[in-house]
Protein backbone atom coordinates (compact mmCIF):
# COMPACT_ATOMS: atom_id res chain seq x y z
CA UNK A 1 0.00 0.00 0.00
CA UNK A 2 2.98 2.36 -0.07
CA UNK A 3 3.10 5.22 -2.47
CA UNK A 4 6.54 6.20 -3.78
CA UNK A 5 5.99 9.23 -5.87
CA UNK A 6 8.61 11.86 -6.49
CA UNK A 7 7.30 15.15 -7.60
CA UNK A 8 9.69 17.92 -8.69
CA UNK A 9 10.17 20.57 -6.04
CA UNK A 10 8.94 18.33 -3.27
CA UNK A 11 10.77 16.44 -0.60
CA UNK A 12 11.10 12.82 -1.50
CA UNK A 13 9.09 10.80 0.89
CA UNK A 14 11.01 8.14 2.75
CA UNK A 15 8.88 5.79 4.79
CA UNK A 16 10.05 5.42 8.34
CA UNK A 17 11.55 2.25 9.79
CA UNK A 18 8.47 1.72 11.85
CA UNK A 19 6.23 2.03 8.82
CA UNK A 20 8.27 -0.51 6.85
CA UNK A 21 8.17 -2.90 9.77
CA UNK A 22 4.46 -2.45 10.11
CA UNK A 23 3.89 -3.21 6.44
CA UNK A 24 6.10 -6.27 6.59
CA UNK A 25 4.14 -7.48 9.56
CA UNK A 26 0.88 -6.90 7.73
CA UNK A 27 2.03 -8.84 4.68
CA UNK A 28 3.10 -11.72 6.89
CA UNK A 29 -0.29 -11.67 8.58
CA UNK A 30 -2.07 -11.79 5.21
CA UNK A 31 0.07 -14.69 4.00
CA UNK A 32 -0.55 -16.62 7.16
CA UNK A 33 -4.30 -16.01 6.99
CA UNK A 34 -4.40 -17.24 3.41
CA UNK A 35 -2.43 -20.34 4.29
CA UNK A 36 -4.71 -21.13 7.22
CA UNK A 37 -7.82 -20.61 5.10
CA UNK A 38 -6.45 -22.92 2.38
CA UNK A 39 -5.52 -25.61 4.87
CA UNK A 40 -8.86 -25.51 6.64
CA UNK A 41 -10.73 -25.63 3.33
CA UNK A 42 -8.66 -28.61 2.23
CA UNK A 43 -9.22 -30.41 5.54
CA UNK A 44 -12.96 -29.74 5.40
CA UNK A 45 -13.09 -31.02 1.82
CA UNK A 46 -11.17 -34.17 2.64
CA UNK A 47 -13.29 -34.86 5.72
CA UNK A 48 -16.52 -34.40 3.77
CA UNK A 49 -15.24 -36.58 0.93
CA UNK A 50 -14.23 -39.37 3.30
CA UNK A 51 -17.45 -39.01 5.28
CA UNK A 52 -19.63 -39.35 2.19
CA UNK A 53 -17.72 -41.98 0.26
CA UNK A 54 -17.00 -43.96 3.40
CA UNK A 55 -20.63 -44.23 4.45
CA UNK A 56 -22.01 -47.75 4.21
CA UNK A 57 -24.72 -46.77 1.72
CA UNK A 58 -22.40 -44.89 -0.63
CA UNK A 59 -22.24 -47.55 -3.34
CA UNK A 60 -25.98 -47.70 -3.69
CA UNK A 61 -26.32 -43.94 -3.43
CA UNK A 62 -23.77 -43.52 -6.18
CA UNK A 63 -25.58 -46.04 -8.37
CA UNK A 64 -28.94 -44.38 -7.68
CA UNK A 65 -28.02 -40.69 -7.91
CA UNK A 66 -24.83 -40.52 -9.97
CA UNK A 67 -25.14 -43.24 -12.57
CA UNK A 68 -23.28 -42.23 -15.76
CA UNK A 69 -25.54 -44.46 -17.87
CA UNK A 70 -28.74 -42.76 -16.71
CA UNK A 71 -27.12 -39.33 -16.96
CA UNK A 72 -26.46 -40.02 -20.64
CA UNK A 73 -30.00 -41.28 -21.16
CA UNK A 74 -31.55 -38.34 -19.33
CA UNK A 75 -29.58 -35.36 -20.65
CA UNK A 76 -31.09 -35.14 -24.16
CA UNK A 77 -34.62 -35.56 -22.84
CA UNK A 78 -34.05 -33.08 -20.02
CA UNK A 79 -32.71 -30.52 -22.50
CA UNK A 80 -35.71 -31.10 -24.74
CA UNK A 81 -37.95 -30.40 -21.76
CA UNK A 82 -35.85 -27.37 -20.88
CA UNK A 83 -36.80 -25.79 -24.20
CA UNK A 84 -40.37 -25.59 -22.90
CA UNK A 85 -39.15 -23.97 -19.65
CA UNK A 86 -37.16 -21.39 -21.58
CA UNK A 87 -40.01 -20.48 -23.91
CA UNK A 88 -42.37 -20.14 -20.97
CA UNK A 89 -39.79 -18.05 -19.10
CA UNK A 90 -39.29 -15.68 -22.03
CA UNK A 91 -42.99 -15.15 -22.73
CA UNK A 92 -44.29 -15.20 -19.14
CA UNK A 93 -41.31 -13.16 -17.88
CA UNK A 94 -42.01 -10.31 -20.31
CA UNK A 95 -45.74 -10.44 -19.62
CA UNK A 96 -45.15 -10.46 -15.87
CA UNK A 97 -42.80 -7.45 -16.00
CA UNK A 98 -45.23 -5.43 -18.09
CA UNK A 99 -48.34 -6.37 -16.14
CA UNK A 100 -46.59 -6.05 -12.77
CA UNK A 101 -45.37 -2.55 -13.59
CA UNK A 102 -48.86 -1.59 -14.73
CA UNK A 103 -50.34 -2.85 -11.46
CA UNK A 104 -47.71 -1.02 -9.40
CA UNK A 105 -48.38 2.25 -11.23
CA UNK A 106 -52.12 1.72 -10.77
CA UNK A 107 -51.59 1.29 -7.03
CA UNK A 108 -49.50 4.43 -6.70
CA UNK A 109 -51.72 6.78 -8.70
CA UNK A 110 -52.58 9.88 -6.73
CA UNK A 111 -55.88 11.67 -6.67
CA UNK A 112 -59.30 10.63 -5.38
CA UNK A 113 -60.67 10.00 -8.87
CA UNK A 114 -58.43 6.96 -9.23
CA UNK A 115 -59.73 5.26 -6.10
CA UNK A 116 -61.50 2.39 -7.91
CA UNK A 117 -58.38 1.61 -9.92
CA UNK A 118 -56.23 1.64 -6.78
CA UNK A 119 -58.72 -0.56 -4.95
CA UNK A 120 -58.91 -3.07 -7.81
CA UNK A 121 -55.13 -3.29 -8.15
CA UNK A 122 -54.79 -3.73 -4.38
CA UNK A 123 -57.43 -6.46 -4.29
CA UNK A 124 -55.74 -8.23 -7.19
CA UNK A 125 -52.28 -8.27 -5.62
CA UNK A 126 -53.65 -9.33 -2.24
CA UNK A 127 -55.59 -12.21 -3.75
CA UNK A 128 -53.00 -13.58 -6.15
CA UNK A 129 -50.07 -13.19 -3.78
CA UNK A 130 -51.93 -15.23 -1.21
CA UNK A 131 -53.30 -17.90 -3.54
CA UNK A 132 -50.96 -20.91 -3.71
CA UNK A 133 -49.57 -21.16 -7.22
CA UNK A 134 -50.44 -24.82 -7.61
CA UNK A 135 -54.12 -24.11 -6.87
CA UNK A 136 -54.10 -21.18 -9.29
CA UNK A 137 -52.66 -23.52 -11.93
CA UNK A 138 -55.21 -26.26 -11.30
CA UNK A 139 -58.08 -23.79 -11.42
CA UNK A 140 -56.94 -22.24 -14.68
CA UNK A 141 -55.71 -25.40 -16.42
CA UNK A 142 -58.62 -27.68 -15.60
CA UNK A 143 -61.27 -25.10 -14.72
CA UNK A 144 -61.20 -22.96 -17.85
CA UNK A 145 -61.65 -25.86 -20.33
CA UNK A 146 -64.51 -27.17 -18.20
CA UNK A 147 -66.41 -23.95 -18.99
CA UNK A 148 -66.39 -24.97 -22.67
CA UNK A 149 -66.15 -21.37 -23.82
CA UNK A 150 -66.04 -20.83 -27.56
CA UNK A 151 -62.77 -19.42 -28.80
CA UNK A 152 -60.90 -19.96 -25.54
CA UNK A 153 -57.92 -22.26 -25.86
CA UNK A 154 -57.68 -25.44 -23.86
CA UNK A 155 -54.01 -25.87 -24.62
CA UNK A 156 -52.49 -26.76 -21.24
CA UNK A 157 -49.25 -24.88 -21.85
CA UNK A 158 -50.99 -21.61 -22.72
CA UNK A 159 -53.35 -21.93 -19.78
CA UNK A 160 -50.49 -22.82 -17.45
CA UNK A 161 -48.53 -19.82 -18.69
CA UNK A 162 -51.54 -17.60 -18.02
CA UNK A 163 -51.75 -18.91 -14.46
CA UNK A 164 -48.06 -18.17 -13.92
CA UNK A 165 -48.55 -14.62 -15.19
CA UNK A 166 -51.52 -14.11 -12.86
CA UNK A 167 -49.56 -15.11 -9.75
CA UNK A 168 -46.16 -13.68 -10.57
CA UNK A 169 -47.52 -10.30 -11.69
CA UNK A 170 -48.85 -9.86 -8.17
CA UNK A 171 -45.40 -10.54 -6.68
CA UNK A 172 -43.60 -8.32 -9.16
CA UNK A 173 -46.15 -5.52 -8.75
CA UNK A 174 -45.29 -5.33 -5.06
CA UNK A 175 -41.58 -5.21 -5.86
CA UNK A 176 -42.12 -2.34 -8.30
CA UNK A 177 -44.37 -0.54 -5.84
CA UNK A 178 -41.70 -0.73 -3.15
CA UNK A 179 -39.28 0.79 -5.66
CA UNK A 180 -41.65 3.58 -6.61
CA UNK A 181 -42.36 4.45 -2.98
CA UNK A 182 -38.65 4.44 -2.13
CA UNK A 183 -38.01 7.40 -4.45
CA UNK A 184 -37.73 10.46 -2.21
CA UNK A 185 -40.72 12.85 -2.42
CA UNK A 186 -38.31 15.71 -3.09
CA UNK A 187 -37.55 14.13 -6.48
CA UNK A 188 -41.19 14.31 -7.43
CA UNK A 189 -41.52 17.82 -6.03
CA UNK A 190 -38.46 18.99 -7.96
CA UNK A 191 -39.76 17.49 -11.18
CA UNK A 192 -43.17 19.08 -10.76
CA UNK A 193 -41.64 22.47 -9.95
CA UNK A 194 -39.67 22.22 -13.19
CA UNK A 195 -43.00 21.98 -14.94
CA UNK A 196 -43.20 18.26 -15.69
CA UNK A 197 -46.71 16.83 -15.68
CA UNK A 198 -47.38 14.03 -13.22
CA UNK A 199 -47.25 11.50 -16.07
CA UNK A 200 -43.89 12.76 -17.26
CA UNK A 201 -42.62 12.91 -13.69
CA UNK A 202 -43.44 9.23 -13.32
CA UNK A 203 -41.94 8.38 -16.71
CA UNK A 204 -38.69 10.38 -16.54
CA UNK A 205 -37.93 10.85 -12.85
CA UNK A 206 -39.60 8.29 -10.62
CA UNK A 207 -39.66 5.05 -12.63
CA UNK A 208 -36.01 5.06 -13.79
CA UNK A 209 -34.85 5.35 -10.18
CA UNK A 210 -37.47 2.93 -8.88
CA UNK A 211 -36.66 0.18 -11.39
CA UNK A 212 -32.93 0.50 -10.84
CA UNK A 213 -33.36 0.00 -7.12
CA UNK A 214 -35.38 -3.17 -7.42
CA UNK A 215 -33.30 -5.05 -10.00
CA UNK A 216 -31.97 -7.61 -7.46
CA UNK A 217 -35.39 -8.57 -6.03
CA UNK A 218 -36.78 -8.61 -9.58
CA UNK A 219 -34.11 -11.09 -10.55
CA UNK A 220 -35.10 -13.19 -7.54
CA UNK A 221 -38.63 -13.36 -8.83
CA UNK A 222 -37.40 -14.14 -12.34
CA UNK A 223 -35.26 -17.05 -11.14
CA UNK A 224 -38.17 -18.25 -9.07
CA UNK A 225 -40.42 -18.02 -12.14
CA UNK A 226 -37.86 -19.95 -14.15
CA UNK A 227 -38.13 -22.86 -11.72
CA UNK A 228 -41.90 -22.62 -11.37
CA UNK A 229 -42.43 -22.86 -15.13
CA UNK A 230 -42.02 -26.59 -14.50
CA UNK A 231 -45.30 -26.63 -12.60
CA UNK A 232 -47.10 -26.26 -15.91
CA UNK A 233 -46.34 -29.97 -16.30
CA UNK A 234 -49.30 -30.62 -14.01
CA UNK A 235 -51.41 -30.27 -17.14
CA UNK A 236 -49.45 -32.93 -19.00
CA UNK A 237 -46.79 -30.91 -20.80
CA UNK A 238 -43.29 -32.28 -20.33
CA UNK A 239 -40.68 -29.85 -18.98
CA UNK A 240 -37.11 -30.56 -17.88
CA UNK A 241 -37.88 -31.78 -14.36
CA UNK A 242 -40.82 -33.80 -15.61
CA UNK A 243 -38.71 -35.43 -18.30
CA UNK A 244 -36.35 -36.43 -15.51
CA UNK A 245 -39.21 -37.77 -13.42
CA UNK A 246 -40.49 -39.88 -16.29
CA UNK A 247 -37.15 -41.66 -16.63
CA UNK A 248 -36.61 -41.84 -12.87
CA UNK A 249 -39.92 -43.50 -12.14
CA UNK A 250 -39.63 -45.86 -15.09
CA UNK A 251 -36.31 -47.32 -13.99
CA UNK A 252 -36.23 -46.40 -10.28
CA UNK A 253 -33.10 -44.28 -10.58
CA UNK A 254 -32.71 -40.70 -9.36
CA UNK A 255 -29.82 -39.63 -11.59
CA UNK A 256 -32.09 -37.78 -14.08
CA UNK A 257 -33.22 -35.50 -11.23
CA UNK A 258 -29.61 -34.63 -10.45
CA UNK A 259 -29.00 -33.89 -14.14
CA UNK A 260 -32.07 -31.64 -14.33
CA UNK A 261 -31.07 -29.87 -11.12
CA UNK A 262 -27.58 -29.13 -12.43
CA UNK A 263 -29.01 -27.89 -15.73
CA UNK A 264 -31.21 -25.40 -13.87
CA UNK A 265 -28.33 -24.21 -11.70
CA UNK A 266 -26.20 -23.79 -14.82
CA UNK A 267 -28.99 -21.67 -16.26
CA UNK A 268 -29.36 -19.46 -13.19
CA UNK A 269 -25.69 -18.58 -12.70
CA UNK A 270 -25.17 -16.66 -15.98
CA UNK A 271 -28.47 -14.87 -15.39
CA UNK A 272 -27.30 -13.71 -11.96
CA UNK A 273 -23.91 -12.61 -13.28
CA UNK A 274 -25.59 -10.67 -16.07
CA UNK A 275 -27.83 -8.72 -13.71
CA UNK A 276 -24.92 -8.07 -11.36
CA UNK A 277 -23.07 -6.59 -14.31
CA UNK A 278 -26.07 -4.51 -15.38
CA UNK A 279 -26.54 -3.21 -11.84
CA UNK A 280 -22.86 -2.36 -11.49
CA UNK A 281 -22.92 -0.51 -14.80
CA UNK A 282 -25.98 1.46 -13.72
CA UNK A 283 -24.30 2.37 -10.45
CA UNK A 284 -21.19 3.55 -12.27
CA UNK A 285 -23.23 5.72 -14.57
CA UNK A 286 -25.14 7.15 -11.65
CA UNK A 287 -21.95 7.93 -9.78
CA UNK A 288 -20.70 9.92 -12.74
CA UNK A 289 -23.79 12.07 -12.54
CA UNK A 290 -25.21 10.64 -15.76
CA UNK A 291 -28.78 9.61 -15.27
CA UNK A 292 -30.68 10.99 -12.34
Amino acid sequence: MTLHKTLPGEDTYVPSERRIARERHRRARTRRATAIAATSTLVTGVVLFLLITGSPGWDRTQETFFSPHYARVALPQVLEGLWLNLRLLAVCGSAVLAFGLLLAVARTLRGPVFFPIRALATAYTDFFRGLPLIICLLMVVFGVPALRLEGVTNDPVLLGGAALVLTYSAYVAEVFRAGIESVHPSQRAAARSLGLSSGRTLRFVVLPQAVRRVVPPLLNDLVSLQKDTGLVSIAGAVDAVYAAQIIASKDFNYTPYVVAGLVFVALTIPMTRLTDWVTARMDRRRAQGGLV
Binding site: H25, A28, R29, R32, A33, I36, T39, S40, V43, T44, V47, L48, L51, G54, S55, P56, G57, R60, T61, E63, T64, F65, F142, P145, A146, R148, N154, D155, P156, S233, I234, A235, G236, A237, V238, Y242, Q245, I246, A248, S249, K250, D251, F252, N253, Y254
Partner: protein, 300 residues
Protein backbone atom coordinates in the same frame (compact mmCIF):
# COMPACT_ATOMS: atom_id res chain seq x y z
CA UNK B 1 2.41 -11.57 16.40
CA UNK B 2 0.66 -12.60 19.54
CA UNK B 3 -2.66 -12.07 17.87
CA UNK B 4 -1.67 -14.11 14.88
CA UNK B 5 -0.66 -17.11 16.91
CA UNK B 6 -3.87 -16.95 18.80
CA UNK B 7 -5.96 -16.97 15.63
CA UNK B 8 -3.87 -19.85 14.32
CA UNK B 9 -4.51 -21.80 17.48
CA UNK B 10 -8.22 -21.10 17.30
CA UNK B 11 -8.36 -22.24 13.72
CA UNK B 12 -6.50 -25.44 14.46
CA UNK B 13 -8.82 -26.14 17.37
CA UNK B 14 -11.88 -25.45 15.22
CA UNK B 15 -10.69 -27.65 12.40
CA UNK B 16 -9.66 -30.49 14.65
CA UNK B 17 -12.90 -30.36 16.58
CA UNK B 18 -14.74 -30.47 13.24
CA UNK B 19 -12.76 -33.58 12.35
CA UNK B 20 -13.57 -35.17 15.70
CA UNK B 21 -17.23 -34.26 15.27
CA UNK B 22 -17.32 -35.76 11.79
CA UNK B 23 -15.63 -38.89 13.05
CA UNK B 24 -18.18 -39.15 15.79
CA UNK B 25 -20.95 -38.72 13.24
CA UNK B 26 -19.48 -41.39 11.03
CA UNK B 27 -19.44 -43.60 14.04
CA UNK B 28 -23.13 -43.33 14.77
CA UNK B 29 -24.94 -41.80 11.80
CA UNK B 30 -25.22 -44.55 9.19
CA UNK B 31 -28.00 -47.03 9.40
CA UNK B 32 -26.78 -50.59 9.30
CA UNK B 33 -27.51 -51.89 5.82
CA UNK B 34 -27.35 -55.51 6.89
CA UNK B 35 -30.33 -56.74 8.80
CA UNK B 36 -29.82 -60.02 10.59
CA UNK B 37 -30.38 -62.63 7.94
CA UNK B 38 -33.18 -65.08 8.42
CA UNK B 39 -31.46 -68.42 8.72
CA UNK B 40 -31.77 -70.72 5.77
CA UNK B 41 -33.25 -68.04 3.52
CA UNK B 42 -32.49 -68.93 -0.03
CA UNK B 43 -33.30 -67.75 -3.53
CA UNK B 44 -36.53 -66.35 -4.83
CA UNK B 45 -38.32 -69.64 -5.19
CA UNK B 46 -36.52 -72.28 -3.21
CA UNK B 47 -38.03 -71.28 0.09
CA UNK B 48 -37.57 -73.45 3.06
CA UNK B 49 -40.49 -73.57 5.41
CA UNK B 50 -38.54 -73.13 8.63
CA UNK B 51 -36.90 -69.93 7.33
CA UNK B 52 -40.27 -68.21 7.14
CA UNK B 53 -41.50 -68.91 10.64
CA UNK B 54 -45.18 -67.90 10.72
CA UNK B 55 -45.53 -64.53 12.38
CA UNK B 56 -41.86 -64.50 13.32
CA UNK B 57 -40.15 -62.79 10.39
CA UNK B 58 -37.50 -60.12 10.85
CA UNK B 59 -39.97 -57.31 10.11
CA UNK B 60 -39.54 -53.55 10.68
CA UNK B 61 -41.73 -53.72 13.78
CA UNK B 62 -41.54 -57.03 15.56
CA UNK B 63 -44.74 -59.02 15.41
CA UNK B 64 -46.27 -56.60 12.90
CA UNK B 65 -46.25 -56.54 9.13
CA UNK B 66 -45.92 -53.00 7.78
CA UNK B 67 -47.41 -52.60 4.31
CA UNK B 68 -46.91 -49.45 2.25
CA UNK B 69 -49.15 -47.95 -0.40
CA UNK B 70 -49.67 -44.52 -1.91
CA UNK B 71 -52.42 -42.08 -0.98
CA UNK B 72 -55.00 -41.72 -2.47
CA UNK B 73 -55.44 -45.45 -2.95
CA UNK B 74 -57.48 -45.87 -6.10
CA UNK B 75 -60.35 -48.20 -6.85
CA UNK B 76 -60.62 -50.99 -7.93
CA UNK B 77 -57.30 -51.77 -6.21
CA UNK B 78 -58.52 -50.30 -2.94
CA UNK B 79 -61.90 -49.12 -1.80
CA UNK B 80 -62.84 -45.73 -0.31
CA UNK B 81 -59.14 -44.75 -0.09
CA UNK B 82 -58.94 -47.01 2.96
CA UNK B 83 -56.39 -49.84 2.49
CA UNK B 84 -57.10 -51.36 5.89
CA UNK B 85 -60.70 -52.34 5.13
CA UNK B 86 -59.69 -55.43 3.16
CA UNK B 87 -61.78 -54.26 0.21
CA UNK B 88 -60.34 -53.83 -3.25
CA UNK B 89 -57.99 -56.25 -4.99
CA UNK B 90 -54.65 -55.10 -3.61
CA UNK B 91 -55.91 -54.67 -0.07
CA UNK B 92 -57.28 -58.22 -0.21
CA UNK B 93 -54.02 -59.55 -1.69
CA UNK B 94 -51.98 -57.83 1.03
CA UNK B 95 -54.09 -59.43 3.76
CA UNK B 96 -53.91 -62.81 2.03
CA UNK B 97 -50.11 -62.59 1.82
CA UNK B 98 -49.95 -61.50 5.46
CA UNK B 99 -52.11 -64.46 6.48
CA UNK B 100 -49.84 -66.84 4.57
CA UNK B 101 -46.89 -65.40 6.45
CA UNK B 102 -48.68 -65.91 9.75
CA UNK B 103 -49.83 -62.35 10.45
CA UNK B 104 -53.53 -61.96 11.03
CA UNK B 105 -55.53 -58.82 10.25
CA UNK B 106 -54.69 -56.80 13.34
CA UNK B 107 -50.97 -57.47 12.92
CA UNK B 108 -50.98 -55.67 9.56
CA UNK B 109 -50.08 -51.97 9.73
CA UNK B 110 -50.66 -49.79 6.66
CA UNK B 111 -48.29 -46.98 5.89
CA UNK B 112 -48.56 -44.09 3.44
CA UNK B 113 -45.65 -44.50 1.01
CA UNK B 114 -45.55 -42.18 -2.02
CA UNK B 115 -44.60 -43.95 -5.23
CA UNK B 116 -41.32 -42.03 -5.47
CA UNK B 117 -40.16 -42.96 -2.00
CA UNK B 118 -40.94 -46.64 -2.49
CA UNK B 119 -37.74 -46.93 -4.52
CA UNK B 120 -35.52 -44.45 -2.65
CA UNK B 121 -32.23 -46.11 -1.77
CA UNK B 122 -32.28 -45.52 1.99
CA UNK B 123 -33.65 -47.97 4.55
CA UNK B 124 -37.35 -48.60 4.05
CA UNK B 125 -40.00 -48.14 6.69
CA UNK B 126 -42.25 -50.83 5.23
CA UNK B 127 -41.86 -54.59 4.92
CA UNK B 128 -43.40 -54.58 1.48
CA UNK B 129 -45.18 -52.03 -0.70
CA UNK B 130 -48.25 -52.82 -2.82
CA UNK B 131 -49.02 -50.09 -5.32
CA UNK B 132 -49.57 -51.53 -8.83
CA UNK B 133 -45.83 -51.54 -9.44
CA UNK B 134 -44.85 -53.43 -12.57
CA UNK B 135 -41.82 -55.70 -12.37
CA UNK B 136 -39.02 -54.75 -14.73
CA UNK B 137 -35.38 -55.63 -15.05
CA UNK B 138 -34.08 -52.09 -14.64
CA UNK B 139 -36.20 -51.56 -11.54
CA UNK B 140 -34.78 -54.72 -9.98
CA UNK B 141 -31.44 -52.92 -9.72
CA UNK B 142 -33.00 -50.59 -7.16
CA UNK B 143 -35.55 -52.70 -5.29
CA UNK B 144 -36.46 -56.33 -4.80
CA UNK B 145 -39.74 -57.68 -6.17
CA UNK B 146 -41.82 -60.61 -5.04
CA UNK B 147 -43.21 -62.89 -7.71
CA UNK B 148 -45.98 -61.28 -9.71
CA UNK B 149 -49.44 -61.30 -8.15
CA UNK B 150 -51.36 -59.91 -11.14
CA UNK B 151 -50.95 -60.05 -14.91
CA UNK B 152 -51.51 -56.56 -16.26
CA UNK B 153 -52.88 -55.57 -19.61
CA UNK B 154 -52.95 -51.98 -20.80
CA UNK B 155 -56.10 -50.50 -22.31
CA UNK B 156 -57.15 -47.36 -24.17
CA UNK B 157 -60.02 -45.24 -22.81
CA UNK B 158 -61.66 -42.53 -24.94
CA UNK B 159 -64.85 -40.49 -24.89
CA UNK B 160 -67.50 -42.17 -27.03
CA UNK B 161 -67.64 -38.98 -29.07
CA UNK B 162 -63.92 -38.70 -29.75
CA UNK B 163 -62.04 -39.68 -32.88
CA UNK B 164 -60.10 -42.28 -30.93
CA UNK B 165 -63.22 -44.25 -30.06
CA UNK B 166 -63.31 -46.17 -33.31
CA UNK B 167 -59.71 -47.35 -33.22
CA UNK B 168 -59.31 -50.98 -34.20
CA UNK B 169 -55.55 -51.22 -34.30
CA UNK B 170 -52.47 -49.66 -32.76
CA UNK B 171 -51.86 -47.80 -36.02
CA UNK B 172 -55.25 -46.08 -35.68
CA UNK B 173 -53.93 -44.34 -32.55
CA UNK B 174 -50.97 -42.71 -34.27
CA UNK B 175 -52.88 -39.54 -35.06
CA UNK B 176 -54.62 -39.01 -31.73
CA UNK B 177 -53.41 -37.11 -28.67
CA UNK B 178 -52.80 -39.69 -25.95
CA UNK B 179 -52.26 -39.25 -22.23
CA UNK B 180 -50.95 -41.45 -19.41
CA UNK B 181 -49.70 -41.27 -15.84
CA UNK B 182 -46.01 -40.76 -15.12
CA UNK B 183 -44.08 -43.82 -13.99
CA UNK B 184 -46.55 -46.25 -15.50
CA UNK B 185 -45.98 -48.85 -18.15
CA UNK B 186 -48.95 -47.25 -19.92
CA UNK B 187 -46.62 -44.43 -20.89
CA UNK B 188 -44.05 -46.92 -22.16
CA UNK B 189 -46.70 -48.58 -24.30
CA UNK B 190 -47.49 -45.22 -25.89
CA UNK B 191 -43.86 -44.34 -26.54
CA UNK B 192 -42.62 -47.76 -27.62
CA UNK B 193 -45.63 -49.36 -29.29
CA UNK B 194 -47.93 -46.61 -30.59
CA UNK B 195 -45.28 -43.93 -31.31
CA UNK B 196 -47.92 -41.22 -31.89
CA UNK B 197 -47.27 -38.15 -34.01
CA UNK B 198 -48.00 -35.71 -31.18
CA UNK B 199 -46.14 -36.16 -27.91
CA UNK B 200 -48.26 -37.84 -25.26
CA UNK B 201 -49.44 -35.77 -22.31
CA UNK B 202 -48.01 -37.07 -19.03
CA UNK B 203 -49.92 -36.63 -15.79
CA UNK B 204 -48.81 -36.81 -12.18
CA UNK B 205 -51.99 -38.60 -11.19
CA UNK B 206 -54.73 -40.46 -12.98
CA UNK B 207 -57.21 -37.84 -11.71
CA UNK B 208 -55.58 -35.22 -13.92
CA UNK B 209 -55.60 -37.60 -16.87
CA UNK B 210 -59.34 -38.14 -16.34
CA UNK B 211 -59.93 -34.35 -16.18
CA UNK B 212 -58.01 -33.89 -19.41
CA UNK B 213 -60.01 -36.68 -21.04
CA UNK B 214 -63.29 -35.08 -19.98
CA UNK B 215 -62.33 -31.61 -21.22
CA UNK B 216 -60.92 -32.91 -24.50
CA UNK B 217 -57.31 -31.90 -23.82
CA UNK B 218 -56.44 -35.47 -24.83
CA UNK B 219 -58.36 -37.78 -27.15
CA UNK B 220 -57.62 -40.95 -25.21
CA UNK B 221 -55.74 -42.13 -22.14
CA UNK B 222 -53.91 -45.39 -21.53
CA UNK B 223 -54.38 -47.13 -18.17
CA UNK B 224 -54.37 -50.72 -16.96
CA UNK B 225 -57.47 -52.71 -17.81
CA UNK B 226 -59.15 -52.80 -14.37
CA UNK B 227 -58.67 -49.06 -13.97
CA UNK B 228 -60.04 -48.56 -17.47
CA UNK B 229 -63.23 -50.42 -16.61
CA UNK B 230 -63.53 -48.59 -13.32
CA UNK B 231 -63.21 -45.23 -15.11
CA UNK B 232 -65.85 -46.06 -17.71
CA UNK B 233 -68.13 -47.76 -15.23
CA UNK B 234 -68.09 -45.35 -12.31
CA UNK B 235 -66.20 -42.14 -13.02
CA UNK B 236 -66.54 -41.03 -16.64
CA UNK B 237 -69.65 -42.77 -17.98
CA UNK B 238 -69.39 -40.90 -21.28
CA UNK B 239 -66.14 -42.75 -21.99
CA UNK B 240 -65.59 -46.29 -23.24
CA UNK B 241 -62.80 -48.84 -23.30
CA UNK B 242 -61.62 -48.75 -26.91
CA UNK B 243 -59.46 -51.84 -26.65
CA UNK B 244 -56.45 -53.40 -24.99
CA UNK B 245 -52.89 -53.59 -26.19
CA UNK B 246 -51.54 -56.94 -27.28
CA UNK B 247 -49.22 -58.40 -24.65
CA UNK B 248 -45.59 -58.54 -25.58
CA UNK B 249 -44.93 -62.16 -26.48
CA UNK B 250 -41.77 -62.76 -24.48
CA UNK B 251 -42.97 -61.75 -21.03
CA UNK B 252 -46.38 -60.71 -19.75
CA UNK B 253 -46.29 -57.62 -17.56
CA UNK B 254 -46.87 -58.34 -13.89
CA UNK B 255 -47.44 -56.34 -10.72
CA UNK B 256 -45.14 -57.35 -7.89
CA UNK B 257 -44.75 -56.44 -4.23
CA UNK B 258 -41.84 -54.02 -3.69
CA UNK B 259 -39.28 -54.80 -0.99
CA UNK B 260 -36.01 -53.19 0.01
CA UNK B 261 -33.13 -54.46 -2.11
CA UNK B 262 -31.47 -55.93 1.00
CA UNK B 263 -34.68 -57.21 2.54
CA UNK B 264 -34.45 -60.66 4.06
CA UNK B 265 -38.18 -61.22 3.58
CA UNK B 266 -38.19 -61.33 -0.22
CA UNK B 267 -38.04 -65.10 -0.54
CA UNK B 268 -40.71 -65.62 2.13
CA UNK B 269 -43.05 -63.04 0.58
CA UNK B 270 -42.47 -64.50 -2.88
CA UNK B 271 -43.20 -67.96 -1.52
CA UNK B 272 -46.46 -66.69 -0.06
CA UNK B 273 -47.51 -65.10 -3.38
CA UNK B 274 -46.63 -68.30 -5.27
CA UNK B 275 -48.67 -70.39 -2.82
CA UNK B 276 -51.65 -68.04 -3.21
CA UNK B 277 -51.42 -68.36 -6.98
CA UNK B 278 -51.22 -72.17 -6.73
CA UNK B 279 -54.21 -72.65 -4.45
CA UNK B 280 -56.38 -70.35 -6.55
CA UNK B 281 -56.69 -67.53 -3.99
CA UNK B 282 -55.33 -64.90 -6.39
CA UNK B 283 -57.75 -66.00 -9.11
CA UNK B 284 -60.66 -65.88 -6.66
CA UNK B 285 -59.71 -62.38 -5.50
CA UNK B 286 -59.39 -61.23 -9.10
CA UNK B 287 -62.85 -62.56 -9.80
CA UNK B 288 -64.22 -60.88 -6.71
CA UNK B 289 -62.70 -57.41 -7.16
CA UNK B 290 -61.74 -57.10 -10.82
CA UNK B 291 -64.45 -59.13 -12.53
CA UNK B 292 -65.59 -56.03 -14.41
CA UNK B 293 -62.30 -56.14 -16.25
CA UNK B 294 -63.57 -58.66 -18.73
CA UNK B 295 -61.88 -58.79 -22.05
CA UNK B 296 -61.74 -55.79 -24.29
CA UNK B 297 -60.98 -56.21 -27.99
CA UNK B 298 -57.27 -56.51 -28.61
CA UNK B 299 -55.84 -53.74 -30.79
CA UNK B 300 -54.02 -55.39 -33.66
Amino acid sequence: MHLATRSLATTVTAVSSAVVLCAALTGCAPQPEEKPKASGASGRNGVTAEACAPGGLATEVEGKLTVGTDKPAYAPWFSDDEPSNGKGFESAVAYAVAKRLGYDRDAVVWQHTPFNSAFAPGAKKFDFDINQVSISESREKAVAFSSGYYDVRQAVVALKSSKAAGAKSVADLKKVKLGAQVGTTSLEFINDLVKPETKPAVYQRNDFAKSALKTGQVDAIVVDLPTAFYITGAEVPEAEVVGQFPNSADQPEQFGLVLDKESTLTSCVSGAVDALRKDGTLAALEKEWLSDAVDAPVLK
